[in-house]
């Protein structure tokens, strides 16, 4: 306590210095006076009295200095001195300061930005109450070994009742349902939920009421709750929405309430409806699509839950075997935290990004170190003088560290704006479904991190220069001349810059390769004409009832044919066709039990999945895909006539070994007796990359859309002008005849292709940013080193010019020095890049990791920019006036 009081007193003594000094002087004077008087009384002369008094005091100044040390906090006071001096020095050298601050701003800024992103996505807990205790569940079963599944409804019940580690659990099942009856038909994300869903989540309604337990049991009046966003967009937030009827997939629901703004579980749900326990879904033990969210009891651990789940898994497996004995396979129910389930996949990617950003920061620090070292040489006389005047090595070291930290803090301050810009860039280029993207923003942690980062960088960068300063002895003062030239240039500093250049080279090479990959992907010809194409889905209502399948198929086909005719008549439409599923979205259907006629026996029955599509007549013509043999589907290919098929080149070659397969047959179904139903092949189409751009075309077969009932329809329209402009017209035309037909996923083909390369685009963009930063920083380093070398060699240059060197010679000399540095760095960088780009190998397309053209381009770029970086100092060197230079001693 007493010590604390003392500390406070010393701290406050830093203020009001003058008054205290006066008081100290007064007290010393008074002491001496009293002592002198006593001495006089003892008989000494005035002179003796004075001398004795001063000697007993131990010297006035010494006594005062001891007092001062006790009074204030000497450490702080000298620190302030150093700080003031350091800032003055920085102000005197604006060029140096600006270079250093800029470098650090880039390094610290980008690091802060990445940290902010990593913090928001991976480190911070989710923004739900008690989110650290929330878990979700996964199922792995031998029935579908390739998939990560979710629990079934019976599994959910078991978890809820038997897992004692779990306090509460809710289940939801999200699906798309067609909304008709109010306004434009649309497809809504509907979540079917368990009882006590809203209660367990602690949700409150924004209007009306939320689902209650009694809603689970009623069999006639289905009720629904809207999301706040849906209420706004479809009902204009009007209270009259309550009581309105929604028709979802031909079933009537009455709206009873609206969820609170910001309530988003499941994340994209727009409507919540209850799932009664009696419904099929709730009874089905193989419906592995239920999303279960549970909260752990306080004190229960994830491990205890996993143990309980193991027991439940066994139980469920036994029950499953009883009910469906032909479905065998291990059943494994596991839990993971909600945070993990959301971000696990992206964790690695972000951490790699952070590593790259740290690399850029290290480059910046290296830059600062080399700049400080270079400048240190110019100031070594000043430092030696200070050492001679009594500064301890610790003090000298501290001076340098204070300067480097001040620079770093200035850089950090500027870096905050860089960080803000960086976060904006990230939000712009990240694919929209990036986990927790909406939580990435600027907040106070940014500033704290920038502060910490700056301090660390300053200390790190200042280490080597500080050590060198501390080793200076006063003998340096007596050494003649500051620079007999580059006899011992700051080798360490130059080496650092060379390494910086190498690192920047690696980043630049990687970026070039990624950008090329992106370009290659975007310009890859998928095998069909991609211009002026507008595509959209026409979702069909799901058919759970097998008996009605045929009649529904007929009405579906009639509707589609009508739509095609109607839309085809529109003036902006050049051509159109239909299929069951769009291209380039990575999804495909395949049938089981495909049989081929006319192939060697071992290939006749196919077990692997082959891509299949259902096409309307004229599809290939419209897309500009040539036919190698035979014909397209025609209008005459309708049910119940002979069913026909088309195969692509790849399929023909792979299974029949020839393109002449017209007339052969393929079967994808069996009749009631189990005999194969055959479809005759009428044509062979050219290969098309219709799953994704990167893959080689696979074997595919096509069936006639008008001969089958399918789950969805997809329209592809070739427009005469801008495809986007036609969206409204087409929609209205379709709704004129079929007001309850929703249109979804309206896209142009160019946008679809751009989306498929979303990941590559983000990587290329980010890598380009880092490469640019790294390059800037490294070249600033080159500029700095060459600059200071010129400054120190002023005398030498003067001598040379006096001895007859021309401006050109001087220019060559300086450029040589700078370019040697850059070349050395490029050389090291080339070797490093050879190894480093292998990391990217899996992401590349159309270029090899050691693509010689890219490497050459980067080398040339670095040399050119290196020249530019050297040009300014070189110009200064050329302008040296020999007379002035020689005058400097």
């Amino acid at each position: 306590m007493r010590r604390l009081r003392a500390w406070f007193s010393r701290l406050s003594a830093l203020l009001g210095k003058e008054a205290r000094e006066r008081e100290l002087s007064a007290e010393m004077d008074s002491h001496l006076q009293l002592h002198i008087e006593d001495n006089l009384r003892a008989g000494m002369t005035l002179a003796q009295a004075r001398r004795e008094a001063i000697m007993k005091l131990g010297g006035v100044e010494q006594a005062k200095e001891n007092y001062r040390e006790r009074r204030g906090l000497p450490f702080l006071e000298t620190l302030f001195q150093d700080l003031r001096y350091g800032l003055r020095m920085l102000a005197k050298n604006p060029g140096f300061t600006a270079t250093a601050v800029l470098t650090l701003a880039l390094g610290i800024g980008v690091n802060t930005a990445i940290f902010s992103i990593v913090n928001a996505v991976i480190l911070r807990p989710l923004p739900y109450k008690d989110s650290s205790r929330m878990v979700t569940f996964n199922v792995k079963t031998a029935m579908f070994p390739a998939f990560n599944l979710q629990p079934t409804w019976p599994a959910f019940q078991a978890i809820r009742t038997q897992a004692s580690s779990v306090e509460q659990a809710v289940a939801s099942w999200e699906t798309d349902r067609t909304l008709t009856g109010t306004g434009q038909p649309a497809v809504l994300d509907v979540a079917g939920v368990s009882d006590s869903f809203f209660e367990s989540l602690g949700a409150h309604p924004a209007f009306g009421r939320l689902l209650a337990d009694q809603d689970q049991n009623s069999s006639q009046d289905h009720v629904a709750v809207l999301s706040a966003a849906l209420w706004r967009s479809r009902f204009a937030s009007s209270p009259s929405a309550i009581g309105k009827k929604l028709i979802l997939d031909n079933q009537v629901y009455t709206v009873v309430g609206v969820a609170a703004e910001g309530f988003a579980y499941p994340v994209r749900a727009e409507v919540w409806v209850p799932i009664p326990l009696s419904s099929e879904i709730a009874q089905n033990p193989t419906f592995f699509s239920v999303n279960v969210l549970a909260k752990l009891r306080k004190g229960a651990s994830l491990e205890s839950l996993q143990a309980e789940l193991a027991v439940i898994s066994q139980q469920l497996e036994q029950e499953l075997e009883k009910q469906k004995p032909n479905l065998k396979g291990g059943y494994k129910l596991t839990a993971e935290t909600l945070l993990d389930s959301r971000v696990q996949d992206s964790r690695k990617g972000y951490l790699v990004l952070w590593a790259a950003a740290t690399l850029v920061l290290l480059i910046a620090c290296a830059n600062l170190t080399s700049l400080l070292l270079a400048r240190g040489l110019a100031r070594h006389r000043e430092m030696a003088m200070r050492a001679a005047l009594g500064a301890s090595p610790r003090r000298l070291r501290r001076q340098v560290l204070v300067e480097s930290c001040s620079l770093a803090m200035l850089g950090g301050w500027a870096g905050v704006s860089v960080a803000a810009a960086g976060i904006q860039v990230f939000r712009a280029v990240a694919p929209p479904d990036t986990a927790r993207l909406n939580e990435v923003s600027m907040d106070w942690t940014l500033l704290w991190f920038a502060l910490g980062c700056s301090l660390l960088s300053g200390l790190l960068a200042g280490l080597a220069p500080a050590r060198r300063a501390a080793r200076l002895s006063p003998n340096e003062l007596f050494k003649q001349g500051t620079g007999a030239g580059g006899a011992n240039p700051s080798r360490f500093g130059s080496a650092l810059v060379a390494i910086e250049v190498a690192l920047a080279f690696i980043l630049l090479t990687g970026s070039t390769l990624m950008t090329q990959t992106l370009a290659n992907l975007l310009y890859q010809n998928p095998g069909f004409r991609t211009d002026h194409l507008l595509t959209f889905d026409l979702p069909q209502p799901p058919n759970w009832n097998e008996k009605e399948a045929d009649t529904r198929a007929e009405s579906q086909i009639a509707r589609l044919q009508q739509i095609i005719a109607d839309v085809g008549r529109l003036p902006g439409v050049e051509d159109l066709a239909a299929s069951n599923l769009g291209v380039l979205n990575g999804i495909y259907f395949s049938h089981a039990g495909i049989k081929l006629e006319g192939v060697p026996a071992e290939k006749a029955e196919i077990s692997e999945g082959i891509v299949s599509r259902y096409l309307s007549p004229g599809y290939f013509r419209m897309l500009g895909v040539p036919l190698r043999r035979g014909r397209e589907f025609e209008g005459s290919d309708t049910r119940p006539a002979n069913r026909v098929a088309i195969v692509n080149e790849a399929m023909a070659q792979k299974y029949w070994g020839t393109l002449d397969v017209v007339g052969k047959r393929i079967s994808i179904s069996t009749d009631a007796k189990g005999n194969p139903e055959w479809n005759e092949i009428v044509g062979v189409s050219a290969n098309v990359r219709d799953l994704n751009i990167q893959e080689e075309p696979r074997p595919e077969y096509f069936l006639a859309l008008f001969q089958w009932g399918v789950f969805s329809h997809h329209l592809v329209v070739r427009t005469r002008t801008n495809p986007d402009a036609l969206t409204d017209t087409i929609s209205r035309q379709i709704w004129a005849s079929f007001p309850d037909q929703p249109l979804t996923h309206v896209m142009t083909m160019t946008r679809t292709i751009a989306d498929t390369v979303g990941d590559q685009r983000m990587h290329a963009a980010l890598l380009a940013v880092f490469a640019f930063l790294g390059l800037s920083v490294a070249l600033l380093g080159v500029y700095g080193v060459v600059s200071y070398s010129v400054a120190r060699r002023t005398q030498e240059i003067g001598v040379r010019m006096a001895l007859g060197a021309v401006r050109g010679d001087v220019l060559r000399m300086i450029l040589q020095q700078g370019l040697t540095l850059v070349s050395l760095g490029a050389g090291i960088g080339t070797v490093g890049a050879f190894g480093a780009t292998r990391v990217l190998a899996s992401e590349l397309y159309g270029v090899t990791p050691t693509d010689p053209r890219s490497f050459l381009a980067v080398i040339i770029l670095m040399l050119i920019i290196g020249c530019i970086a050297c040009w300014f100092p070189a110009r200064r060197a050329m302008q040296v006036d020999p007379l002035v230079a020689l005058r400097y001693e």
Binding site: R2, R3, S9, L34, K56, A63, N66
Partner: protein
């Protein structure tokens, strides 16, 4: 200046502080010079006190709240800064006195010729 010297300085400063407190208790309020003079006398002139070290010690005691200071006038009409003991100082003095007595008593048993053969 090695560690040993620093230790000695600390011990010396601690002892000096105690002497100052005791002096102020005995003499009442006194100025710096007077305290220094008195300490010399009390120690029987065995201690050659460097008066310059007294003032930092006085400052420390003041910072810790054991003494307080105020400007006054001496007998010869000289302005001087007088120091006096605070209540906390009194308590601290008593405490340290007791501790010293204890220490010396224990040491005495060790250092005095005792029953155990040595």
């Amino acid at each position: 200046m090695g560690d040993k010297a620093a230790d000695k300085k600390d011990v010396w400063q601690g002892t000096l502080a105690l002497m100052v407190l005791k002096t102020l208790q005995a003499m009442g309020p006194q100025h710096g010079y007077g305290i220094a003079r008195r300490i010399e006398q009390t120690s029987g002139d065995l201690l050659a006190v460097n008066y310059g070290t007294l003032y930092p010690a006085l400052l420390k005691l003041e910072q810790e709240g054991y003494i307080s200071s105020e400007w006054g006038v001496s007998d010869n009409n000289r302005k001087a800064k007088y120091y006096k003991l605070t209540r906390a100082g009194r308590k601290q003095l008593n405490k340290e006195e007791r501790e010293w007595e204890q220490t010396t008593a224990i040491l005495a048993r060790f250092l005095a010729p005792g029953e155990e053969s040595s």
